[in-house]
């Protein structure tokens, strides 16, 4: 926070410098909204008391992306649980003894209908297994160590900002020192001491020398500042580009995994449809006459028909 405040100090300085500067500000890229064009400034909170570095906003975006990835995996996990429950219920139902006593061709068709419920269960179980391997797992494991990576970027940029703030303080200090020395020279030059002329001229020479040194010192500090700024600038650009690349990779990874989800959904519905075919076939073959024949053969009591009594 103190470095942020120091840094916003730099920006107010830069802003004022910008106003007086006749240089035009070159834009890095004209379109495509690259990160490195838009996150130089600190973000002030509404009250205006604290601020967050632009780079922090970029890092937060990355962390949020990782969180989204994790939440999507959780969603898939929930779907897996639902599918497993459905499969379990269908499988249990398929073992039901209801109407098991139906015989003949109708009985066969009914038995196949029950069996098809188990086939459906298998389809959904397969779906849930594939969801786990091909969608949930990749979402969970992509960039396992990402937070550590981001922390490295964060600390590096923070260090460079601290150094820049420190160099800026150095420039301010040198500027003040120069102002003091120049004032001292001016005062001494304006004084008139007829009595002690020699000493006075010595004093002026001394004051002039100190003023020159202070000027050199200021220029040295400005040079240090500019180098620090250059390093920070370069790191910001490099890291921004990397974060952009990482984000594109994340979006593509997610897109791919979600496509796998829809592929599995398509597959599942198709496999599920095929479980009905054998039932349709056996229903086609249902033959009441045949069933009567089979039943009569097994359950007939006797063919002896009554005849008239004859005396």
């Amino acid at each position: 926070s103190s470095s942020s405040r120091g840094f916003s100090g730099i920006y107010s300085f830069l802003t004022s410098l910008q106003d007086t500067n006749t240089h035009t500000q070159p834009t890095w890229h004209i379109s495509k909204s690259y990160y490195c064009d838009y996150f130089w400034t600190d973000k002030k909170d509404p009250q205006g008391t604290t601020s967050v570095a632009g780079f922090e906003v970029l890092l937060q975006k990355q962390l949020k992306g990782k969180q989204m990835q994790k939440e999507m995996a959780e969603f898939i996990r929930e779907r897996i649980k639902i599918e497993e429950e459905y499969a379990k219920n269908l499988s249990k139902l398929s073992q039901s003894p209801l109407a098991a006593q139906e015989e003949g061709t109708l009985g066969e068709a009914w038995a196949q209908l029950k069996r098809s419920c188990h086939d459906e269960a298998e389809v959904h179980l397969k779906f849930s297994n594939k969801l786990q391997c091909e969608v949930e797992k990749p979402l969970l494991t992509f960039r396992d160590n990402f937070k550590k990576e981001l922390k490295k970027y964060d600390h590096h940029i923070i260090d460079l900002r601290k150094q820049l703030a420190s160099r800026f303080a150095g420039v301010e200090k040198a500027r003040k020192a120069l102002a003091d020395r120049q004032k001292d020279l001016e005062v001494k030059t304006q004084q008139l001491d007829i009595k002690h002329m020699n000493k006075h001229e010595e004093d002026i020479k001394k004051a002039r020398r100190k003023s020159t040194q202070a000027g050199d010192d200021l220029m040295h500090n400005v040079d240090l500042y500019n180098r620090a700024q250059s390093k920070w600038f370069e790191e910001m650009v490099t890291t921004s580009l990397e974060l952009e690349r990482l984000e594109v990779e994340r979006v593509e990874m997610i897109r791919q995994n979600l496509r796998q989800y829809t592929t599995l959904r398509h597959e599942t519905d198709m496999f599920n449809q095929s479980t009905v075919e054998p039932v349709d076939q056996l229903l086609q073959s249902v033959d009441p006459a045949r069933d009567r024949e089979l039943w009569v053969r097994e359950h007939k009591t006797g063919e002896l028909r009554p005849v008239d009594m004859d005396i």
Copy 2:
């Protein structure tokens, strides 16, 4: 039970008659196993103590068919419950806030994926509703009053059997009476009573008359028996044909309903597949560059780039 025993008495009589009878036994239908060819005889249980009328076996078959219909409806009810549970779970999942903060084109695709879970829920809910109306309900309501109908058939046939047994008893009684009269006549004819010749001749004439009457009586009873048998026979054939028809109707009804089940399953899988289409489309449109643009536009902190300090 007593009527059954009486009836099996008829059958042992018939069997013995059959053995002596020179008539060939016409078969009603040569093939196709019509009920009315095979259920004349009572079914003896293994111990041989009691028996069940062949017609009872046919009735039991009908009752069992009704029971099968009911059990199939129960099975469908279970399936309905499973589908409702699945739909409820998917619908709840679709409202999950997981990864709701994902923005841009990827965020839209993700939101649609969640929405598609709700669409799937709707598909399965529709399936369960149609299962109820188009499969369960018809199975439950088909021949609501069937047991009453069957009872009517049962009682009618039982009455005819009782009457037949009673006529049979009548024949036996008349036969015995004839035998007695004939024996009496024989005895009286062989007696020689020279002393009371006129009375003796009167006695013989009387005995002969009684014998003739007993003969007429026997023939009358036989005629009554044959009529009773004819009625029972006719009713058996008519009712058997009706029960056959009802059974064919039952099998066809069930087949139709189960076909409706498979039709609904096909439909459901197809509707389910279509819920994935919009997700595929939005995944197609995922554009990392666009997403970056949108995000930067909203979250940028400032474009002011640092420039070198110049003194």
